[in-house]
Symmetry: C7
Subunit: 250 residues, 7 copies
Amino acid sequence: MARRYDQRTTIFSPEGRVYQVEYAMTAIRHAGATVGILAKDGIVLAAEKKTTAKLLDGSSTISEKMFKIDEHVVCAVAGITSDANILINYARLSSQRYYYTYQEPIPVEQLVSQICDTKQGYTQYGGLRPFGVSFLYAGWDKHFGFQLYQSDPSGNFAGWKATSIGGENSQNAQSVLRSKYKPDINYKEALELALKVLTKTMDRSNVNSDKLEFSYFTKKGDQIVYHILSPKELDDFIKDADLENENEDS
Amino acid sequence: MARRYDQRTTIFSPEGRVYQVEYAMTAIRHAGATVGILAKDGIVLAAEKKTTAKLLDGSSTISEKMFKIDEHVVCAVAGITSDANILINYARLSSQRYYYTYQEPIPVEQLVSQICDTKQGYTQYGGLRPFGVSFLYAGWDKHFGFQLYQSDPSGNFAGWKATSIGGENSQNAQSVLRSKYKPDINYKEALELALKVLTKTMDRSNVNSDKLEFSYFTKKGDQIVYHILSPKELDDFIKDADLENENEDS
Amino acid sequence: MARRYDQRTTIFSPEGRVYQVEYAMTAIRHAGATVGILAKDGIVLAAEKKTTAKLLDGSSTISEKMFKIDEHVVCAVAGITSDANILINYARLSSQRYYYTYQEPIPVEQLVSQICDTKQGYTQYGGLRPFGVSFLYAGWDKHFGFQLYQSDPSGNFAGWKATSIGGENSQNAQSVLRSKYKPDINYKEALELALKVLTKTMDRSNVNSDKLEFSYFTKKGDQIVYHILSPKELDDFIKDADLENENEDS
Amino acid sequence: MARRYDQRTTIFSPEGRVYQVEYAMTAIRHAGATVGILAKDGIVLAAEKKTTAKLLDGSSTISEKMFKIDEHVVCAVAGITSDANILINYARLSSQRYYYTYQEPIPVEQLVSQICDTKQGYTQYGGLRPFGVSFLYAGWDKHFGFQLYQSDPSGNFAGWKATSIGGENSQNAQSVLRSKYKPDINYKEALELALKVLTKTMDRSNVNSDKLEFSYFTKKGDQIVYHILSPKELDDFIKDADLENENEDS
Amino acid sequence: MARRYDQRTTIFSPEGRVYQVEYAMTAIRHAGATVGILAKDGIVLAAEKKTTAKLLDGSSTISEKMFKIDEHVVCAVAGITSDANILINYARLSSQRYYYTYQEPIPVEQLVSQICDTKQGYTQYGGLRPFGVSFLYAGWDKHFGFQLYQSDPSGNFAGWKATSIGGENSQNAQSVLRSKYKPDINYKEALELALKVLTKTMDRSNVNSDKLEFSYFTKKGDQIVYHILSPKELDDFIKDADLENENEDS
Amino acid sequence: MARRYDQRTTIFSPEGRVYQVEYAMTAIRHAGATVGILAKDGIVLAAEKKTTAKLLDGSSTISEKMFKIDEHVVCAVAGITSDANILINYARLSSQRYYYTYQEPIPVEQLVSQICDTKQGYTQYGGLRPFGVSFLYAGWDKHFGFQLYQSDPSGNFAGWKATSIGGENSQNAQSVLRSKYKPDINYKEALELALKVLTKTMDRSNVNSDKLEFSYFTKKGDQIVYHILSPKELDDFIKDADLENENEDS
Amino acid sequence: MARRYDQRTTIFSPEGRVYQVEYAMTAIRHAGATVGILAKDGIVLAAEKKTTAKLLDGSSTISEKMFKIDEHVVCAVAGITSDANILINYARLSSQRYYYTYQEPIPVEQLVSQICDTKQGYTQYGGLRPFGVSFLYAGWDKHFGFQLYQSDPSGNFAGWKATSIGGENSQNAQSVLRSKYKPDINYKEALELALKVLTKTMDRSNVNSDKLEFSYFTKKGDQIVYHILSPKELDDFIKDADLENENEDS
């Protein structure tokens, strides 16, 4: 009977639920998992790639999962990529507008808040569907240093120390993070933790740069640096890390 | 049969009810309880936090339940946070606009009334759903001193001496407030009363700063002061208060 | 079968009825009763309050049932308060606009007519629901002296000598008014008559200033005066009146 | 099966009918009957009042059934009064605009035609319901002298010598008019004929100024005069007329 | 099953039909028949009147069936009169606008074409119903002399030598026209032919000026003359014609 | 089950079809067949007329099937004529606008492309139905000489050497064209081929200028000439051609 | 049951799918296959033509499957051609606008991204259907040299080394590409590979320039050259290639 209330985005069901938002969240579950970890000295974003076609042209500028919004903010995506593109365009514009007005980078939380207000509108007005996409936002600003946020299709968001979005085994990922995360982790350890989380349920033969994407924010002196691991860097890193991993599991 | 009338926000059922508004109120019941108490010398807002992930990053500026609108007004939220954000943005803007025009803080009731008129519109026009959020507004102005208001998804509001929103045991909370509230309560006693109300139905092991959020308005000389208890302050306060509490119960 | 025609505000049923308007009237029946009596020397408005929470803060400026529109017009409300607020805002603005344009108070009937035209629109256009509120308007102008009007959700209105809106026992109230009303009644007798009407079906223990609200218009010399009885005044008045009342009943 | 086509104002049924318009006409049948008679020297409008509350305040300017549009045009209404108000406002504005532009009164037919075009629109566009009201328009202009028009919810209109709208016994009224109307009738005889038509099916005890409303247009020298019979005039007139009436019936 | 496609004006049924347009045509069949005949020296329009109330005021300017658009164009109507009024207003405005711009009368076909484009729009856009009216347009211009056009609710139109719209026996009328029409007919013979067509299925007792309306265009020297037969002229004409008629039938 | 997807123009069925467009195409099948043939030295357009009323006035400028858009472009229509009129108006305006801007005739393909983009919009947006009309466009421009295009309700179009639209035996017509068409055909042979195609399935007694319409484009020196065969020319042509035809068939 | 969610473009099904987008993709499967291959020194686009009418006029400028957007970008289409036209117009305009503003060709990815954002909107807003078309974009810019992109009705896009859209045997085509593609392929080898992919499932007798369309981008010195193989070139190429092909298969 609950199904009577799930065909319009703008209505509540008798239990007070907005079903279209919940269905949008299901869409995200089909996407590859994405993990974000806030470290003392940076932030790690790591994602599982679902598309397997070896003919994809990696040399273009399109990352499948990670998008730079500004020099100091990056986001990782789980869900419908074309929905995400709209919001990312909006975020980039917001960021530039802020810079143009105030001559300083937009604070990370303010940017996240603006995107989420847009998302919320698509859950309340008729004739629209919610954006079928969740984000992890990693950024740095002078007020709060490194920050990691997560938002979902409802427009809710929160700051996290470590979290994951997307993936069928999201629960699993969250519980690994809870048990292994330590507040004084550095970004290199965070990379390893992210690998552990993502590969827990993957077939070992798939654990390589074709199926994974890793990046991190850190600080080099006064400079904020964002780096995406090249396939070679990633494969090397996996080879080293994997060994440790097995040891630890045993 | 009544269900025929609950799929559009803009219609009355034969009994004269607007079901979407009632369902939105149900949404609020799933949220953690929030208590507001008006004291002689201030106002107390206290909330139960539902999210339990220890990985949430508390250092960011986002309070989960309490939002400053202006120097002299604060609100506590129960319901869908992304819905609340939209109304809070609107309230902040209204407040600044008033100040810009009249060079004095907006009277608390006028601010509450404006937000509620916006809420009402979402219950009368087609293609929209009501805002799934109730508010407690705490504020001070020169006309009426400290004031506590409560509003719900229909856009109704009223001034209260002590009240609670959200929470499965809302009835319970209201009855504790009715029996224990005294008009000459001071804000410190109000903090203790709020704790008693919130913890009545909580598992004792959960009664700590991870699960609770306390704040109060008071006056220091001519200055209005709003203070959110830090986790440490809160835990200390709970330890002391809890003892008293038990004594009283016995 | 008639139910096929009751889910859109903009259609007639085969019998020529607009069901949404009739359902909105049902909504008003759930509200507390409100009585208006036109006297030789003034007008009385009296209302039963439904909310019983003793923690409501009466010191704020919000009357639950009676709203001043201008110095010379007041209205009493039965129905959804947040709907009423929208119309009252509109009435206040209309009244000020008239004054600004013509430098004299708006005639009472003109004001009532404007509000009712607005109400009518919400019964004829799609995507809207009717306003779920009935009003009693009490006012004075130089053309017709004291006047009492009643309007309902359809936008119909009429001038009355004595009438009541809201309340489950509306019929009862009307019949008491019909049998006891005398054209040469003065406002003090009208207060007593109003009390009699409202308390007829109330539990005697509830007959006090917590549950009732009384106000009247009268003329002091050339001055129009509007007065809301304070809880003390009201309780005193009830004590005196009640006795008479009982005598009369016996 | 025909019922499939009666829930949208903008569609034809397979038989070529627009049901919403027909239902609106049903709404008018519930209203009290209104009779118009064109005489050599004037026009008579007479109506049965449905509301019986003796507490209605007759001293206000609101006639229940007859509305002056301009010095030279009056209309009588059967149906939903709040719908009528909207069209009467529109008619008054049209009339003044015409006068302002051309410095002479608007021809009666032109005014009627404008109102009816507005009515038509509400039967053809989606999201609206037809106006639930029929009118009799009585007026005088220099082109055609005294004129009587009738319009219905579809926006159709025509000039009549004598006609009636509203009332459960509309057929009856029409047939009395057909048999008794004479082209050389004067306005005084027309008043009597109107009384006969309206009272045919009324309970004799109700035939008084509480239940009836009579008015007429006539010419005093060059002056057009519109007069509504006062309750006293009406009761006197009924007393005299009634006798004749009985004689005639016997 | 075909009925699934008849409730929206904007959709095709699987057989490629737009049902709402076909239903609108049915509406026209209920109207009285109207005949147009193009003669060498003029055009005849003749109509059967459906309304029978002898109290209709014929002295007003409203013809029930024939409307002058401009000095050189007239139209006859079958269907919903209030729908027709809207299109006739539009046609009059178009005609005047053309004259104002080019200082010569609008060519007849251009006028017809404009009205039909408007009609077409109401069959293609949602939320509207087609105009429930067919027209015969009779006119003269310097390019093509006398012309007779017919249009229907779909917005289709064509030039005709003789045709009829409306009436339950439309087929019958068409077949009489086909068998009796001669290209070298003059307007007087055309009047008789029109009478024959209209009266074929009428009760002989109804064949008089109460039930029929005749008019014709002809040329007096260089002047285009449009004449509506007065009731007297019509009755005289019927008397003479009828005889011939009977002779011919025998 | 497929029928669930055929009531809205804007949706795909599970098989990826837009049913409303397919139904519109069915509407075209009911229309008379129209043939276009591109010859070395011109283009032939020939159509079967469905309306049979001998009373249609052929002297007016309205061709039933062929419409001149500009001096160098003509179109033939199959489907709903009033729909076609709208697009033809649009085409004429486009053509004139182009000429006004660039001082040379619009290239034929550009004109066709503009009309088709308009058609496409009516298949993708809600609240509209597709245009129920197919076109053959014949034209000449300096870039590509004589060109023949065909478009359908979906907005698809293509250039053709010989094609037909409308008609129940469209398949048949196409196959005759395929077997008989030769690239070096001249416009006179093309006229005969067109006749053969159209008359294949017609009753021989109907093959005359009442039922057929023939026109062609050709070049006289540098001049582009468009000629519609007069009824006499057509009947003469049929007489001659028919003989050959029979010979050929035997 | 899933079918409840497939009739509106703007809703998610409970499994998080947007069915209208998936149905649009089905529409594309009915189209002929199109193959794109990125070579070291150019890009090949090759398509199977579905329309078989030998009477199609190939001399017009309309390619059925390949459209030039600008000097440096071309796209190949699979799906509804009239939908594609709208997007191609938009792309051409975007490209020219960019050039006008920055005086250099628009980067290929930026162009693709703009088109895809437009596509996305048609999957999220009510009252629209998604564009039923997939594209291959081939282009060159100074930032990334030769690039090949693919987009689908959802608005997703990605860069590819070799891919195919449309065609019932899309899986098959993809797998041939995966097994035969080599990164150091040159454009001539790519032409042969494309032929192999397209003809794998075609009837050998259809493998000729009537059924196929081949084009390529390459660089002649500093010049970007786009060439569509003429029917003769194509048939010659097929003859040569086919032989090799057979040898290879054996």
